[in-house]
Symmetry: C2
Subunit: 331 residues, 2 copies
DNA sequence: CTGAAAGCGCTTACAG
DNA sequence: CTGAAAGCGCTTACAG
């Protein structure tokens, strides 16, 4: 592999000059610059990233920690983050915390050892260990890590949109399958829904909301729906809203197994808009998280050292109406 | 951050000795070793990875290139690779080629710049650019890159298992929805199926197989199935086998839309055993790829420089029978 | 505007 | 068995 030294020699300049040209320093005279650039091309020179990292104390790397890359939402987010990072000349180091705070702590430490430009962390659900990041920028995404700034979806206001939409369809008995209330995301989605519901209830006291707490996964949604749907048609909810698409897909599955038509007998809605949401039968009404925007902002915050900016970024979710919701059955 | 120098000073030894202790060199006397270890703990010393990489010309990093991390199969594979790499003290750099060979080439070059221990690449479908990896170990996984050794599932023999299974159920009119025949994976799965089918046909000349080429994705499966299932019940296939779970799930969707019962009227099977396969209704019969084994072998090949070993590793897929297949309808 | 030189934090022959 | 020293390939004050 060619080094700066080789380039300098071929271009008949000093290594310092080569370095300056490479770093787009404008104080190099054109004649020299061209000689250097030609030598770079001729030798097919590629800078040694380890040397650069050692010298500058930062590598053009972004560390990314997610609970589980096989969760479709995190897969989408990771993809968008990688795309944005790559566009900006950075590489992403990925680790899975397996939703375990001890592992998460180790992963973060290991990533910090590689002097990344910054860390983007979707924290695991159990309480995270405190992280001392030193110089390194750390941004939470989706789920906050410690007290680091968060880039996430405005869960409350997005969830509120869903409440308004279902009530406007005429639903009066609504069940909400909440995520773990130990998590911010779980709490915010529930609270946003509940508060909006309560506002509508002032107009229409007949509205009723029942809430059940579960996990964000398929099984939890299926399990909760199974007992809910056991009730006779006149009493059970006419709309079931889940705190995640995975839960909602579990609900669809339960309804199918119990021969209850969606959306004719019961409407079902989710949250996230994972790829699968538009592939299930019927297609799922949900709130789309704008992962591209989340990714862009997170990467930007990590790369541009707006040092001192500790503010959160909240991005609106979009209500996406598909086939799984409709008017409640005439009763 | 503490450096070897600090540790050496505190432990009253030379930096060389510190380095030897850290690298588990056994020639250091116990007394010194303990002093060093204590100093390491006291100072909370963490080696500077960039310096180590510069000096040794290799970082404890594995580069991973997949076409698309939101594809559930690659997500599972990436997770297993990351877990295995992490277990062995290595970090994974992830990039998505977006199934584009130009991008793939750039990603590989960028990863090689960071002097990784090795590269694991699931190549994109279009012809890949040639890669000069220099010293670095490169292993293909699932889809071969250039002429690099491959760790993958034995597609042909696994596909053959599915043929035997369906024929043993009594199916005589079988449709096979193949993946792109420009890809090894697509070809191998089709050929394995067809060859096994032909063997059975010697016994039972009434068997018929029709083959349709598509993409590996949901839409392709749905699209192909839609026209297939238009035929009247006595003439259309009684079993549809897809080259991927995503295609098979598309088939399920088409059947559902057309009110054709699975598996009563038509059996459906896939390949891969993505998470979703056991979540759709009915649960999908498929061939499970053993991603954990694939991951373990790929990481091992990349880390242990069995230099010169250019052989492929083929791992059997497991037939997983679920609810989407059954006996053909009585006719 | 350009070059000579120091130094980032390690590892590794080489002496002793 | 241990230490002193060179050097990996860069970047960056500092002279000139």
């Amino acid at each position: 592999m060619a080094t700066v030294k080789d380039v300098a020699q071929l271009a008949q300049v000093s290594v310092g000059t080569v370095s300056k040209v490479l770093s787009k320093d404008t104080t190099v005279k054109d004649a020299l610059r061209e000689r250097v650039l030609k030598a770079v091309t001729d030798l097919n020179y590629r800078p040694n990233m380890a040397a650069r990292a050692l010298r500058t104390n930062r590598a053009s790397i972004i560390g990314l920690v997610v609970p589980d890359i096989t969760n479709p939402f995190f897969a989408q987010l990771a993809k968008d983050i990688e795309t944005e990072a790559s566009r900006r000349g950075h590489t992403v180091m990925l680790t899975n915390s397996h939703d375990d705070s001890i592992t998460e702590g180790h992963q973060i430490a290991a990533l910090l050892d590689r002097s990344p430009r910054g860390l983007i962390v979707a924290a695991c659900n159990d309480t995270s260990v405190t992280v001392k990041s030193g110089e390194t920028q750390v941004i939470s995404v989706d789920r906050r890590l410690g007290t680091f700034p968060l880039v996430g979806t405005d869960n409350a206001s997005s969830s509120a949109k869903m409440a308004t939409y279902l009530i406007s369809l005429g639903h009066t008995r609504i069940a909400y399958l909440a995520g773990p209330q130990s998590t911010d995301v779980g709490r915010q989605r529930l609270e946003g829904f509940r508060e909006q519901f309560d506002i509508h209830k002032l107009q229409n006291p007949a509205l009723s909301l029942s809430v059940y707490e579960g996990q964000f996964d398929y099984d939890s949604g299926e399990h909760l729906a199974r007992s809910l749907l056991l009730e006779p048609a006149g009493q059970r909810p006419t709309a079931i809203v889940a705190a995640s698409d995975q839960m909602a897909i579990g609900v669809l599955r339960a309804a199918r197994d119990m021969d209850i038509a969606v959306p004719e007998a019961v409407s079902v809605a989710g949250f996230d808009d994972i790829t699968l949401a538009s592939l299930v039968v019927p297609r799922l009404t949900t709130v789309a998280q704008q992962t591209e925007l989340l990714a862009r902002d997170a990467v930007q915050r990590v790369l541009e050292d707006d040092n001192g900016d500790r503010s959160d970024v909240l991005i609106d979710g979009d209500l996406v109406v598909r086939g799984s919701t409709g008017r409640p059955p005439a009763s």
